[in-house]
């Protein structure tokens, strides 16, 4: 969950400067994970955060990148990605026209057009020594990521030959790469090729511990710690029940807490508006199928009893 943007030089290539939001919470768990990742990066190994949705992979990747103090190139994996989307390609033409009249009575006229090479983010990061954050890299097809193999192992970016004079880019010593991905059973995910996975230090992330979730929910919503605790416990119990198709995550906690705070509601089972918000956000975690619809009354009953238990 990142917020964004201010520019300084119009029309120039962009580099991200990442920094924590004022309400960013660094609990011991986050500190420990950050420290581990930085140790691997310091030894020049790329880090890969792998975990289900809502476990804070992207935020953690950006937090680690911020600690490196270098500009960040952020890429989001996509099914449509090709290698050229990572490294760049021939886009447009450079047109040159020379009219030479050094001797006034002699007109010398030259004209040519050459294809123009444009660096994309991976090439820029490699050249300038920026930190590459490749979010959800397994959403890209494996062959699109092949170019990373040489970058991560031989520290050499191989550009298509015949395209420009420097067909090989020596990777800048400050270049670091951080990857994130969902586990393989998630929708829209490709399997990462073994060669790439083998080059990454993978840190598996699970849902945060209770204290971290409470601290983040309170910080992001502005609710007092005690009220945030009730919401987090409610969502965590629902998560433990397994009665859903899509896992309720920390995002659900933050959503319930923030909307409640903005509406001036206290997390209470006696407040129908609060109950409505909980049902809206948690009931939708069940698929909208005829089979699931039959389960809805039971699921609602369970949710209401959970709300009663934690916010009664």
């Amino acid at each position: 969950m990142a917020v964004a943007a201010r520019s300084m030089v119009e029309g120039a290539p962009a580099a991200l400067s990442v920094r924590p939001r004022p309400d960013f919470v660094e609990t011991p768990t986050i500190k420990e994970l950050t420290g581990r990742a930085l140790a691997y990066l310091a030894a020049d190994f790329p880090v890969h955060f792998r975990g289900p949705a809502g476990t804070g992979k992207t935020t953690l990747a950006l937090h680690v990148a911020a600690q490196l103090g270098r500009p960040v190139m952020l890429i989001a994996g996509d099914e449509e990605f090709a290698t050229s989307d990572l490294i760049g390609g021939q886009y447009g033409y450079r047109y040159r026209k020379v009219i030479d009249q050094f001797i006034h009575s002699v007109l010398k006229y030259e004209e040519d057009a050459a294809q123009r090479w444009v660096d994309h983010r991976l090439t820029t990061a490699c050249r300038e020594g920026f930190t590459l954050v490749y979010d959800e890299f397994t959403r890209s097809r494996p062959e699109a990521n092949n170019v990373l193999l040489g970058v991560l192992e031989e520290q050499l970016l191989i550009l298509p030959t015949m395209s420009r004079e420097d067909a090989y880019v020596k990777v800048h010593p400050d270049f670091r790469a951080i990857f994130t991905s969902n586990p393989q059973e998630y929708a829209g995910i490709h399997e990462a090729q073994d060669a790439l996975s083998d080059r990454l230090v993978t840190i598996d992330l699970d849902y945060y511990d209770r204290e971290t979730e409470i601290a983040i929910t309170a910080a992001r919503s502005g609710l007092p710690l005690e009220e945030a605790t009730r919401i987090v416990d409610l969502v965590r119990d629902y998560r433990a029940s397994g009665e859903y198709d899509q896992t309720p995550t920390l995002r659900s906690c933050i959503m319930i807490a923030r909307v409640s705070a903005m509406q001036g509601l206290r997390p209470s089972a006696q407040d129908p508006r609060f109950v409505r918000i909980c049902l809206d956000l948690l009931e939708s975690k069940t698929a909208f199928t005829s089979q699931a619809r039959e389960r809805r009354p039971q699921q609602r009953k369970m949710l209401l009893s959970l709300i009663e238990h934690h916010c009664g």
Binding site: M1, A12, A15, S17
Partner: protein
């Protein structure tokens, strides 16, 4: 005058052109041509004098600019000295210098 070389020996053509024409009409014709040539040369001289003034003014300005730049050069330390004295560019300055557009991303 005693001739000193071939150039000083008047040709028949020169004797003819330097001599005063015998008839009134020829004198009048040559006089008119000479008046015209005189006007043309006077105009050409004006252009040259004007051009000389312009060039002198420009030269004066260039001399002043050279003097100014020399003084500025003496006042500034060399690039190497600036780096040695801890004047290394920060990451932000480096990006600015390279023309990077910085976008702040808060997470």
């Amino acid at each position: 005058m005693k001739p000193r070389g071939m150039h000083d020996i008047p040709t028949a053509q020169r004797l003819l052109s330097h001599s005063i024409p015998a008839t009134r009409s020829k004198v009048a014709t040559q006089l008119a041509r000479m008046e015209q040539e005189k006007t043309r040369l006077e105009q050409e001289l004006d252009v040259w004098v004007g051009k000389q003034q312009q060039t002198e003014e420009r030269l004066q300005k260039v001399r002043q600019r050279i003097e100014l730049l020399r003084r500025a050069l003496d006042a500034l330390p060399a690039e190497e000295e600036r780096k040695d004295s801890g004047g290394q560019l920060t990451a932000g300055e480096e990006r600015k210098a390279k023309g990077w557009r910085e976008i702040t991303l808060e997470y």
